[in-house]
């Protein structure tokens, strides 16, 4: 404390606090504590918003690029297809078909092949049933190898025979294979696949019979974890038989000693037939004998995809780059455009209708203003559906408005006006529903404008119009801005009203999003459409800020 001078400065001339620490640091500490306290106060809300709002939205938006289902379901096929040159318009080579057989077999056992079929059907019509039917018929290929092997020696009918060959017991085990197959099943079924299996693959057999060991391990884990059965006594899948016959064609068993070695060597000597996978697939469905499904799998095999975003703007990902959808399927860009234009029209008509009402509200006595305000808010107290359905009763061809027009003779009976199931209907109903969102901010801004300004302008010789346009209107712009942003953003995402009164030409992009969420289950595309909509809104907000200035928006 000795080097503090009387005026509270230290030797370097810094201002010090009472306890001797530099004032700057002391202030920073106090501020930090205050900020922390403020943060603690808002923490419940922050966590609530984060968990219930930000996280779900982010995870939903993430679906627009997520595509790991293809490589999780068909890992080996995707790898093999990577080497295939799709542009030659030839079929992929035999190893691809083989990989597909084994991948598909496990996927079908886990009932995940149909899910992948649904995913790929979004890109190529027909794949859904192709996968479903292939899953059903896959056993038949397996039986081609199972039957001869069992007929050759009935010991192969016993689950114990297989278990003795592949289980390590006291011999060294292949931990890698076990780990990779557990990982495969985990990704395939989104089940942790971590339970005790009562099996570990024998290392030397894994080296000698790699495919069979791979398939047997997958089967053993699946049986133990998913079916909760002991693999030691059960027959393996047909695919294990097929894998063994394939391995025996090339394996060198001469130096091998282990359980059932004679059985294996005898089976190798018997030279049992292997199925021709490409022919077997073509037999199951002729589509497999065309490059189309293979190209689709190859094109959409990445972990992440731009496919959904391309679909969302009427384009598609093909094996040779990005292309537009055929013209008769292009609809989404048109709907985006229509949504924006109609939202603008609705915002405009809300301004036109709302401005005089807001002006009236702010210029009548407080008692009358309250009464009027209740009238403005009254529609809020009825359900949205009821209000929309009421418009149906009003606007339809035998509805109230047409009946009145015909009755007073303005419109001939045969030419009743079409007021609903078109854009007009949507605009009318939505303007009505969103009007309070325009009136309220306008009213709260207008009620702060002192009426003396108008009187002053008039006393200095301004006409009514000049006084309004030059003096009053500029002061009410923040209210218009706030109301417009509210109405525009609400209407851009509107769904139920356009659905009910919009007919065919008055529907919005949100109606397609709803369709893809609840009917077609194409959540990736729905997420992409939602993301685009969000970006458009943010861009417009940014543009508004640049042009009008967001400071110019007031809610009161």
């Amino acid at each position: 404390m000795s080097d503090i001078s009387a005026d509270g400065l230290d030797a370097n001339g810094l201002v010090l606090a009472a306890d001797g620490t530099p004032l700057k640091r002391s202030l920073a500490r106090a501020m930090r504590r205050q900020k922390l306290r403020a943060l603690l106060l808002v923490a419940p809300l922050l966590i609530f918003v984060l968990l219930t709002f930000i996280v779900p939205i982010a995870s939903m938006l993430f679906r627009s690029v997520e595509n790991d289902i293809v490589s999780n379901t068909l890992p080996n096929t995707v790898q093999e297809l990577g080497r295939w040159d799709a542009s030659t318009s030839e079929l992929p080579p035999e190893p691809v078909f083989e990989a597909m057989f084994f991948d598909m077999f496990i996927a079908a056992e886990a009932k995940r092949h149909t899910r992948l079929g649904t995913r790929l059907n979004y890109e190529q019509t027909g794949i859904s049933s192709l996968f479903r039917q292939t899953g059903r018929k896959l056993d038949d290929i397996g039986k081609v190898t199972k039957k001869p092997l069992e007929a050759f020696d009935s010991a192969w009918k016993d689950g114990e025979t297989w278990y003795a060959i592949f289980n390590a017991g006291d011999a060294p085990a292949s931990k890698n294979l076990m780990k990779s197959q557990r990982g495969l099943l985990k990704r395939l079924t989104s089940d942790p696949a971590s339970g005790d299996v009562n099996f570990s693959p024998r290392a030397d057999v894994t080296k000698l019979l790699p495919k069979a060991a791979r398939e047997y391990t997958a089967w053993a884990i699946f049986t133990a974890v998913q079916d909760e059965k002991d693999p030691a006594t059960r027959d393996p899948w047909e695919s294990v038989y097929t894998a063994l016959i394939l391995d025996l064609k090339t394996a060198d068993l001469s130096g091998y000693t282990g359980p059932n070695e004679d059985l294996l060597k005898a089976a190798q000597a018997a030279d049992l037939p292997v199925p021709a996978f490409s022919e077997a697939f073509a037999d199951m469905d002729k589509d497999w004998a065309t490059p189309v499904p293979w190209k689709t799998i190859q094109t959409h095999s990445g972990l992440y995809t731009s496919g959904y975003f391309l679909n969302a703007i009427d384009a598609q990902k093909t094996d040779d780059g990005v292309a537009w959808q055929p013209e008769n399927k292009q609809i989404l860009l048109k709907l985006f455009g229509r949504t924006l234009i109609m939202s603008l029209i609705i915002t405009g008509s809300c301004i036109m209708l709302g401005y005089p009402i807001a002006w009236l509200l702010s210029n009548v006595s407080a008692r009358n203003a309250n009464l009027l305000l209740i009238l403005v808010l009254l529609p809020f107290w009825t359900s949205l559906l009821v209000r929309t359905s009421a418009w149906k009763v009003m606007l339809q061809q035998n509805g109230v408005i047409n009946e009145v027009l015909v009755w007073i003779g303005l419109v001939p009976d045969a030419e009743r006006l079409i007021l609903i199931n078109n854009q007009f209907g949507t605009i009318v109903a939505m303007t009505h529903i969103l009007l309070p969102f325009m009136i309220l901010p306008m009213y709260s801004v207008m009620s702060t404008i002192p009426p003396v300004y108008l009187r002053a302008a008039k006393s200095m010789g301004a006409t009514n119009w000049t006084a309004f346009w030059r003096v009053y209107f500029p002061q009410s712009i923040p209210g218009i801005g706030a109301g417009s942003i509210l109405v525009f953003i609400l209407s851009i995402g509107y769904y139920i009203t356009p659905e009910i009164v919009g007919g065919t030409k008055g529907v919005f992009i949100s109606n397609r999003i709803a369709y893809h969420i609840s009917s077609s289950l194409n959540w990736g595309l729905a997420a992409a459409l939602g993301t685009i909509l969000l970006v458009v809104v943010l861009a417009l907000y940014w543009a508004y800020d640049r042009i009008v200035g967001i400071d110019n928006v007031k809610l009161g």
């Binding site: 009932k111 995940r112 149909t114 899910r115 079929g117 649904t118 059907n121 979004y122 019509t125 027909g126 794949i127 859904s128 049933s129 479903r132 079916d227 959808q325 008769n328 399927k329 292009q330 609809i331 048109k334 709907l335 229509r338 339809q396 061809q397 035998n398 509805g399 199931n421 659905e499 007919g503 065919t504 030409k505 529907v507 397609r512 369709y515 969420i517 609840s518 009917s519 077609s520 289950l521 194409n522």
Partner: protein
């Protein structure tokens, strides 16, 4: 699986013995999801109330079937399936099965035999369109017309819908391609057996849309089943498609001047699925309920409340009179021989494949 079968065997025994089930293995609550309205009411009368009474179970109704597929998927992803039994149309059951969201049902062991001992798989026959689907009713999408607004000659074929000269006025069609495309092709001269082959081609789809184009200005498109009866009642349309039960209610209960045009009605199925991922107790309860609710007598009972045909062959002779109107229900069933002279069966496989593709084209055409 084994557990389920054991449980099933025990419950089958207790049910057979007609005892009140105090089995600790089954949950005492059952959440059943259905379509709401008159349809849920019919299920309540025919299945829920008798079952709840016999077993002391609380049944909770949830009218969410319209969004069942999307909601079940979301529930399954959140690992929190709160529904036990869900009523869906067959096409949705196929999709739920494909997605692994519905459990597979072995009809012969999990569903009741017919009274004469016929196995369930045979009694339901071709209607078991998916491994996960337990059929309940046959309904049809067909046309109704205003008898007072169609002139002197009432329409007799579905092609009257496309004949705006003979029958001027608006028609109501569903805002989706399914059924409309088939009717358009039929009325464009395509033979019934060829419809789906034609519709699988680009030319065929164009042909169907071109046919629909001829009446596009005269159509009001509906998206909820209640729309058409309302539009008919208001005189907004002279004819329109909807589910036959809705038209039955308009004709017999509300006494509107409406008649049915059964020609080229499209048969579709509605039934139950049990979601995957239920706890053993809840699954056992759901299976027990299903065993009860889809037996021959129960399915026939439902027809006392609503004009949808029971999915079992053995239920048809047991269909009686409407419970409050007292009229014979058999002539109002879509499956009645007089009504089923010319019918069409919804092709599930085709629409599972082509739904997204054709829907995009259909919506693009609508927006033109």
């Amino acid at each position: 699986m084994k557990l389920t079968k054991t449980l099933l065997a025990t419950t089958a025994l207790t049910v057979a013995a007609g005892m009140v089930n105090a089995d600790g293995h089954m949950s005492s609550e059952l959440t059943i999801v259905s379509w709401g309205g008159a349809y849920s009411a019919s299920q309540k009368g025919a299945y829920h109330d008798p079952y709840a009474e016999a077993n002391g179970v609380t049944i909770i109704n949830d009218d969410s079937s319209a969004e069942a597929v999307a909601k079940l998927r979301a529930m399954s992803e959140a690992d929190n399936v709160t529904w036990d039994v869900v009523d869906v149309v067959a096409a949705d059951a196929i999709r739920l099965c494909d997605e692994g969201l519905a459990m597979e049902i072995d009809a012969d062991t999990m569903l009741a035999d017919a009274p004469d001992g016929t196995k369930a798989s045979e009694d339901f026959g071709d209607l078991l369109v998916s491994d996960c689907f337990i059929p309940q009713i046959v309904y049809s999408t067909t046309f109704g017309y205003r008898t007072d607004l169609v002139g002197d000659t009432a329409p007799t074929t579905v092609c009257a819908v496309f004949d705006t000269d003979a029958y001027p006025g608006k028609r109501a069609l569903e805002k989706r391609p399914i059924n409309n495309m088939e009717w358009a092709l039929l009325c464009d001269g395509v033979a019934k057996g060829d419809v789906y082959d034609v519709l699988a081609t680009q030319e065929g789809q164009d042909k169907a849309l071109a046919k629909l184009d001829t009446i596009k200005d005269d159509v009001i498109w509906w998206s909820a089943g209640a729309d058409t009866p309302q539009l008919l009642a208001d005189g907004e349309v002279i004819m329109g498609s909807t589910y036959n039960g809705r038209l039955f209610a308009a004709i017999e209960e509300q006494k509107l001047p409406v008649a049915m045009l059964w020609d080229a009605q499209v048969f579709d199925l509605d039934g139950w699925i049990i979601p995957t991922g239920l706890s053993p107790e809840r699954q056992a309860r759901a299976l027990d309920y299903i065993m009860f609710a889809t037996d021959t007598q129960r399915l026939a009972d439902q027809a006392q409340y609503i004009s949808y045909g029971p999915a079992r062959k053995s239920s048809a002779p047991l269909v009686g009179k409407h419970i409050s109107l007292g009229i014979d229900m058999a002539p109002h069933m879509p499956t009645d021989p007089n009504n089923a002279k010319n019918t069409f069966l919804y092709n599930y496989e085709f629409w599972a494949d082509y739904r997204d593709d054709i829907d995009a084209k259909f919506q693009a055409w609508l927006a033109k």
